[in-house]
Amino acid sequence: MQIYLDNSATTKPRDEAIATMLQVMSLQYGNPSSLHSWGQEAAMILETARLQVANLINGVDSESIIFTSGGTEADNLAIMGIAQKYSHPKHLIISSVEHSAIAEPAKSLEKLGWEITRLPVNTKGRVNPLDLKAAIQPNTVLISIIYGQSEIGTLQPIETLARIAQSHNILFHTDAVQAAGRIPLDVQQLGVDLLSLSSHKIYGVQGAGALYIRPGVEILPLFGGGGQERKIRSGTQAVPTIAAFGIAAELAAKEISQETPRLMGLRDRLFDLLADCPYLIPTGDRLYRLPHHVSFILSNDFALKAQEVTGKTIVRQLNLAGIGISAGSACHSGKLNPSPILLAMDYDKNAAKRGIRLTLGKDTTTADIDWTAMVIKQVLTRLIPSCCHYADVK
C-alpha cells in the first residue's frame, strides 16, 4: 500500500487540471502576447484562469491577479516589489515563523540596510496582534505574515493583523500558499493588500503561482522583459500550467465547504489515534490549524532512549512502509538543521531536529489514517520497545 501524506510539500495534480493542461498544450499553444488568433486564444485562456483564481479568494477584479512561476516567486515579488519602490531602506515586519520564501528575501533586504522586525510567536506558533501594534514604526512600509504555517500548521489571525496594518496605512501581505483551497479566503473581508498562492499545493501542477495585488497598490517587477502581466512580471506565461491552476482553483472553491470539514475530521482522527503515544508531542496550534495538517516532535524522553533519532529517522521508516511524510517542510528537508520554525517556538536545538509532519489531501481516506497511525506506532515501538500500544492491523 502506498499512502501519500505530504500534501504540504506538493499535491498530486487532479485529473481535471491535467486534462485542461493537456488540451491547452496540444491545441492552444499560442503565445498570449501574439496578436493572431492563436495568441488571442491563449490570452483568453489566461484571462479565464485569472478569473478562476481571483474567485477563489474573492479577488473581485481579476486584474488583481498576477501570475508567477510559483509561491516562491509570488512571495519574492511581494517583498522585493514593494521594497524596490523606496530608494532608502525602510522597516519591514514579518513573523518569526515565515516560510523561507519570505524569510530569505527579508534577510537580503536586511543586508541592504533595511530594518526587519520578526514578531515572536507563542509556543503554539501564533503571533500576538499586540506585538504587531508595538512593532510598528513611522518608517514601516510593509507587514508580511504567513497565513497557514507549512511546518506546524498554525493559522495566524490575519484579519486582525491586516486591520492593524490598515489603520496605520501600511501595506499587508500574507503568504496563503498553504491556506488556499483548504480554508475559505476572502481578500475583501481579510483586508489584505497582497496575497501569495501556489498551484501545486491545490492539486494544480507545478510551475504556476499568483500574487494578488489589491487594485491601486503599486509594485515594481522582479524581472524586466517583455512586460507581460501588466508589466509586473515579464516572461512568456506558462499558459497550460496556468490553465490547470485556474481549474484547480475553481474546483477548490466549489469543494471547500465539504472538503474543509472532511479534512479536519481526518486530521483530528489522526491526532486522536496517536494521543496515547507519550513520545509524540503535537506541535502548533490545535485549534487555529490548517485542516489537513498534523505535526509532532519526538519528545526528549524518546530521544534519550533511542539515540540520535531525528525527524528524518521516522520519515525513512515510514517510507519503507510505503508512507510518504516529511520532517519539517520539503524545501528545508535536504539539510538536517534545526527547524527555525520550531526554534522560534522555543524548542531547543535538538528538539528542533525532531519534527515530523503528515499532511492530508483530497484522496486521503479514513483507512489511510488508521493504517498510518498503526504504522507510526509500530515504528516507534521498534525504536523503543513498549513505546506505545498498537493493535496489529491484519
Partner: protein, 387 residues
C-alpha cells in the same frame, strides 16, 4: 470549430511535440512528488530532475551542476545580468550588450543603469551582426560582463559566439548569451564558445512553457552569482522555488529531440524557408531583414514597401499566424527596435513580417501562405492606386 490559421510564428512560441508531452505525463499522474522530499515520491521526482539536468548539460557541453532551472529565459536573463552585477560590482560597473537584444536583456540592463551601472549598447551592421573590433574596443578595465544573444528573435541572425567568447576570454570578462531562440537549433558548446552564462527556454523548441535554465560556469572561472529569488535554497541556493519536475522532464526531452535531429531538421526547415522566400520575392519592393545565411533556418523577416504593417497582418489573419515584431512587444505599436538598429527607415520597419517556420510545417502550408501574402499585398496596392 473555425478553420485555424497556419501557424508560422515559431519565434513567439512553438507547438509542443507529442513526444515531449508523453514524456511529461507520468510526472503529473504518478511521479508527482516534490523533488526536495525525502520519501519515495520525492526521490522519483529528484531522479527525473537529475536526468533532465544531465541531458541539458550534455547538449551544451556543460556539467549538470552548472545548470540552474528557472521559469524561462526572461528569468534566466535577469538572473544572469542582475546576478553578475550584484556579485561583481566591486570590480566594475560596466556592461556591454547589443542594441538588438531581447527586452529580457535590455530591461535588466536599463534597471542597472538606474543603479549607476554604465551600459554600452553595441550597434549592428545592416545585416544585424556586431563588429568584433567594436566589441574589443568597448571593453574597459571595469567591464564585468558582455551579453550578446545567440540568435535574434526577430531576424534570426546568429552572432559569432566563438569569436566573441575568445575576445571576452582574453580580456577576462564574463560572457553571457541569450540562447532562447538557439538551443537545439544550432550547435552550442560552452567550452568551444568560452561561454560563462547562457539562458535557455523550452517553449521555443517544442517544449513546455514556463521552464528554462541558466548555465553558470563553475570552473575557469567559477562564476559568482547573486540569487534573485530567495527561499528554500533549491538549485544550490542560486534559485529558490519548488522545482517543476514534469516541465524539466519535458524541457530535456525537447532538447534531446532537437539535438538528435538538428542537421536533418534544419535542412528541411531551410528548404521551406527558401520556398517561401522565392514566392515572396515576386513582390516588388520586398526586402530581407538580417543576414541572408547567418540566421536561424526557420526565420524569414521581410519588409514590404508602402504597405501598412498592421493592416497587412489583419488581412492575413485568417490564413496565417505571423507577427510583425517579437511577440512580447507586439502589443505596442512602435517600430521594432531590432529593425531600427539595422538602419531601416521607420516606415519600412512598420511593414515588416516575421515568419517563424517550424518542425511541423509542410510545403503545402508554405505555398498557401506565400500565395496569400502575394495576393493580399497586391490587392492593397490596387486599392491604393484606385484611391
Amino acid at each position: 470549430m473555425f478553420q485555424r490559421p497556419i501557424y508560422l510564428d515559431c519565434h513567439a512560441t512553438t507547438p509542443m511535440d507529442k513526444r515531449v508531452l508523453s514524456a511529461m505525463l507520468p510526472y503529473f499522474t504518478e511521479y508527482f512528488g516534490n523533488p526536495s522530499s525525502l520519501h519515495q515520491y520525492g526521490w522519483e521526482a529528484e531522479t527525473a530532475v537529475q536526468q533532465g539536468r544531465e541531458i541539458i548539460a550534455n547538449a551544451i557541453n556543460a556539467t549538470p551542476e552548472e545548470i540552474v532551472f528557472t521559469s524561462g529565459a526572461t528569468e534566466a536573463n535577469n538572473l544572469a545580468i542582475k546576478g553578475v552585477a550584484e556579485a561583481y560590482f566591486s570590480q566594475g560597473k560596466h556592461i556591454i550588450t547589443v542594441a538588438t537584444e531581447h527586452r529580457a536583456v535590455l530591461d535588466p540592463c536599463e534597471y542597472l543603469q538606474t543603479l549607476g551601472f554604465e551600459i554600452t549598447y553595441l550597434p549592428v551592421n545592416s545585416e544585424g551582426l556586431i563588429d568584433l573590433e567594436k566589441l574589443e574596443t568597448a571593453i574597459r578595465p571595469d567591464t564585468i560582463l558582455v551579453s550578446v544573444m545567440a540568435a535574434n528573435n526577430e531576424i534570426g541572425v546568429l552572432q559569432p559566439l566563438k569569436e566573441i567568447g575568445e575576445i571576452c576570454h582574453q580580456h577576462q570578462v564574463l560572457f553571457h548569451t541569450d540562447a532562447a531562440q538557439a538551443i537545439a537549433k544550432i550547435p552550442l558548446d560552452v567550452q568551444e564558445m568560452s561561454l560563462d552564462l547562457m539562458s535557455l527556454t523550452a517553449h521555443k523548441v517544442y517544449g513546455p512553457k514556463g521552464i528554462g535554465a541558466l548555465y553558470v560556469r563553475r570552473r575557469n572561472p567559477r562564476v559568482k552569482l547573486a540569487p534573485q529569488l530567495h527561499g528554500g535554497g533549491q538549485e544550490k541556493n542560486r534559485r529558490s522555488g519548488t522545482l517543476y519536475t514534469p516541465q524539466i522532464v519535458g524541457f530535456a526531452k525537447a532538447v534531446e529531440i532537437g539535438i538528435n535531429n538538428m542537421a536533418k531538421e534544419n535542412q528541411y526547415i531551410l528548404q521551406l524557408r527558401e520556398k517561401l522566400w522565392s514566392i515572396l520575392q515576386q513582390l516588388e519592393g520586398i526586402s530581407l531583414n538580417g543576414h541572408p545565411t547567418k540566421r536561424l533556418s526557420g526565420n524569414l523577416n521581410v519588409s514590404v514597401e508602402g504597405i501598412d504593417g498592421a493592416a497587412l497582418l489583419l488581412g492575413l489573419k485568417s490564413i496565417v499566424a505571423v507577427s510583425s515584431g517579437s511577440a512580447c512587444s507586439s502589443t505596442k505599436i512602435a517600430p521594432s527596435h531590432v529593425l531600427t538598429a539595422l538602419g531601416r527607415a521607420e516606415k519600412l520597419a512598420y511593414a515588416s513580417l516575421r515568419f517563424g517556420i517550424g518542425r511541423f510545417n509542410t510545403v503545402a502550408e508554405i505555398e498557401t501562405v506565400g500565395q496569400a501574402v502575394l495576393s493580399t499585398v497586391k490587392s492593397f496596392r490596387q486599392k491604393a492606386v484606385l484611391g
